[in-house]
Subunit: 342 residues, 4 copies
Amino acid sequence: MRRFECDYATGAHPKVMEALIKTNLEACPGYGEDEHCAHAAQLIRQACQAPQADVHFLVGGTQTNLTIIAAALRPHQGVISTAMGHINDHETGAVEATGHKVLAVPSEDGKLTAAQVEQVCHSHYTDPTMEHKVQPGMVYLSNPTEMGTVYTLSELEAISEAAHKYHIPLFLDGARIAYGLAASDITLPDLARLCDVFYLGGTKAGALFGEAVVITNEALKSDFRYLIKQRGGMLAKGRLLGVQFEALMEDGLYQEIGKKAVAQAMRLQKAFLDKGYPLLIASPTNQQFPILPDKDLEQLSKNYSSCWWCKTDEDHTAVRFCVAWSTTDEDIDALIADIQAL
Amino acid sequence: MRRFECDYATGAHPKVMEALIKTNLEACPGYGEDEHCAHAAQLIRQACQAPQADVHFLVGGTQTNLTIIAAALRPHQGVISTAMGHINDHETGAVEATGHKVLAVPSEDGKLTAAQVEQVCHSHYTDPTMEHKVQPGMVYLSNPTEMGTVYTLSELEAISEAAHKYHIPLFLDGARIAYGLAASDITLPDLARLCDVFYLGGTKAGALFGEAVVITNEALKSDFRYLIKQRGGMLAKGRLLGVQFEALMEDGLYQEIGKKAVAQAMRLQKAFLDKGYPLLIASPTNQQFPILPDKDLEQLSKNYSSCWWCKTDEDHTAVRFCVAWSTTDEDIDALIADIQAL
Amino acid sequence: MRRFECDYATGAHPKVMEALIKTNLEACPGYGEDEHCAHAAQLIRQACQAPQADVHFLVGGTQTNLTIIAAALRPHQGVISTAMGHINDHETGAVEATGHKVLAVPSEDGKLTAAQVEQVCHSHYTDPTMEHKVQPGMVYLSNPTEMGTVYTLSELEAISEAAHKYHIPLFLDGARIAYGLAASDITLPDLARLCDVFYLGGTKAGALFGEAVVITNEALKSDFRYLIKQRGGMLAKGRLLGVQFEALMEDGLYQEIGKKAVAQAMRLQKAFLDKGYPLLIASPTNQQFPILPDKDLEQLSKNYSSCWWCKTDEDHTAVRFCVAWSTTDEDIDALIADIQAL
Amino acid sequence: MRRFECDYATGAHPKVMEALIKTNLEACPGYGEDEHCAHAAQLIRQACQAPQADVHFLVGGTQTNLTIIAAALRPHQGVISTAMGHINDHETGAVEATGHKVLAVPSEDGKLTAAQVEQVCHSHYTDPTMEHKVQPGMVYLSNPTEMGTVYTLSELEAISEAAHKYHIPLFLDGARIAYGLAASDITLPDLARLCDVFYLGGTKAGALFGEAVVITNEALKSDFRYLIKQRGGMLAKGRLLGVQFEALMEDGLYQEIGKKAVAQAMRLQKAFLDKGYPLLIASPTNQQFPILPDKDLEQLSKNYSSCWWCKTDEDHTAVRFCVAWSTTDEDIDALIADIQAL
């Protein structure tokens, strides 16, 4: 069985693992106050051209999302997101559990638009009963989205402008940003310039776990470590996060992981299209959503795992194939050959 | 510098690391639904002689504490703890952030007593204004305590009885239970029999991270995984937890780590006492709290790190020396020699 | 200016006021533990034919909603409501502030359907990733709805059945139930039979303030007064609530207030329709939503206040006219005459 | 039976009741945006010599406390209070339910000291592990305290200075401030000058209900009405609060109520002392805490209700006698005569 159902099925990239092994017996201060975290933070600041940014390392995405959002909002504020945004749909109400509403707006392709941000804020501030409604206090988006789609630089600039027009911060969930960087015209310095806070996902891009939060907005920096601790996100052996991000950020490994996976995913996409299978959505990143005849899917499933997405009609099913850092060219070759043979 | 300031300064025990390396390229289902977690859970159930228990793996202690407590309490309930309990004093209000008061009672040695549980509950239920007060809804204790002290079996039995008399569950924080098992007459089956929920700490006993929650009370089992997810404690690559606990629970490694550290700590304690240094508290576990003349502490600190605890008078300071899985006999020998030479 | 913009613009019905005056100097125990509250509760139990029900008195609707919902749900559960439900749209995120998501479903007329309840629950329990989603834990509806529409008995029976099929309680917000009883085939005993918890609104039906919560589901009764206190809803001079509900429930005053207002509203509705003004929605209760040409609205607004609802096209606006306990027949006569004269 | 067990047993002062009756049929905008609230706020600003202050009206004390505290704190912050402070001991964990810890310090007489504020803050900011602890974010005190004691002006000045030294706001719970003003050298303008937020209690001083919040600190003003709504404290017929506070603040009725009750209480205190009964604490306000021989208490209880406080030895009990706006001189005369006759 060659596995394509998600991008967190295997362990760490060999270089990350090697760094963990090499440092295993070092005795370090706990809670992220060690040299490895300091160094990894420095590498990230450099990559983002954001010398003033604060960088923090957390273990997982839900934890990171809820910590950032709870840190930024006052009690009567909510966070704007698409309805299919991870915080709205796949975190068991983690944001609400911190007391805040997700202000969900519809989306076909998983992307939020600047016009939607403008619309939510404008309609709030022009409503005479606004005090009876949740005030928009933050904009959340993920890039790539849940559907594998990515924002263009100009789209992100417009969203940033819309958020800042209403004096609310823009938060970008970069759990899969390694793949987004490889598939769009957005760079890390763009993120640092346009977002108030964002994170570089490690879990889905070569680390055992770990998300690196970058805070550029001065107002969001204050006391952030208290919040990490309170929400249970402060790893005792915090250096594990620093060590992994050192490995990822040195010599461009992070970008390389993203590029390789996206190239493999594009080969896969082409194979589906060449075979005549439509895509549920045209994703330029490591997640691909072909619509397959059920009998072909059944055949393929004997040797390749994928993730069920939805039925599109009686005889067809959309599934997700994910490429990850550990996907080999042989995996892709074999899958393409078997697609062609269907 | 030989380091004694905490028990989470180094990485994982070689056998744990080896297991992580060996399984690194396995592709597993995410979120703890893999074979390694299932197997580790089975080993823990066996060790606890609790075939019906639910076992869950979380990353860290604060996260585990807040998740268990929030899962168990109704909104108007609080959790009884000593004032120096970790949840009351060292988790940045994590329990309160889930909406619940910690009902703190005083303690000299870090231990809660059955009489205190009885007193808090009795005084609540006999107060005619009880509806204006937080209802005791759970008993929390850690074993060993923050001061390294341990409960005897009969003490734990009495606390369990007091809690259950008032129909509230007993939760035991076992972040350092590996050392507690080596220093008391309490066994894992005792914990399973007397507690409603408890956990085996991995972070401080040979793992990179990880706490194994054991739920024996049927009423606390329901939907616990939703809670883990909501509070940000569900690791995407959950198998990392399973793999580590497999290594710890197989062949008695967990117990062995505890025993070795306690034996080393006892040698250290004897050296302090032989030198004429009193102990702040008589701890039978891996944390030792000698009171040193300041000039001797200064001398020792050149080669040995310890953790400042408190001033006991103008010229003396209590410090904490921690033994960990990675402390070598050479570390202990050298430290003892230098104590004797003071 | 004759005022029709809401149903809480004036004070209390004369009989309610009289009762408050008459009892003003009585010295009563505080916090709702007085004879008036006990008597009013008894009258409500009788009217509902629910001798086992618990009855509690709170001050206002938002407070009542958040207290009931927070009392009933576990942390990972949410409450099903229409998107325009008061808890979702007009309470500043009060439910989320207690930690729970509102699971909002669309509605044209403000009404929830049994099919929607079934759909939300079924899709949750058949989702293999359900632990990553908020679990439906309660059904909320208001009757009459925000749009003045009402449920039929068979609709309510179907919703009750759908909720109970999934073992979740049905909560009916009866802020305007006085008007609902006058406009549908549902009776108070029906509410007690079909709902697990509901309330009779006093604020909008003749009281200065006050909502009477009726809990029929045994599981929801436990410790409810603790919850009222914790959420700030326990009135020190609680007897004010008892005294008012005594007045409302004696001699059918509550029902009478509802009937009179609905009859007046129907006269108003007929006047709008006779004049050729369509209704935004056909409401059988005390709230009427005519669509008026803007110039006519402007003319009418000189002497009659109403509540802006929405623009329906460039020249037309939907507004809300509310009838209340204090609306006189002269108010209605004058308004109808002026509509006819437009 | 003459009742002395609390100061909220009867309804409203005749002048307050009269104002409610007189305005009952006025149709006003809801939610506190009416002329009566505006006028009452203006009267309070004048009385406080605080022309820039924001004034809001809420229904009850717990609600007011939790709303103010939740509005002011960030998630990792707690509120300093004495252990016997109302928010710590008698509100069913209302503050914790908003996510915040009460940082409780001991007190013999119910009063907090500037030294305690200094100590809590200093020890927090000098603790190297402070990020693992709840950050002090507000100072709460009530004046008079739960024990009827009052702060002197210089004590309040010192506390204000200590709080502001650490840049945290001072919040004064004035549920009984009417009596405090009559018993100390503190004036309303002093409160406005020294506190960042405080409230004038109506419930215990002549109103049916109602607390008037005065916010002088600019940073605490923002969006406060959203918070009131979210926490369920926004009364639909908000004008009821305005009308009552108009009556209380006009012609010095509020101060007069306080003075009269304090004078009556002092007569009572003297009678207890003259009889040779010690006081549990020397309260200069409307709450008196004599220690009575049990047989005398039993005798007195036949005609006078009081509130059980605590046993002081085998044969003696401390009880609370409360004077309220509705206590008559005849009540006091009769009680004193019966004390003398014991």
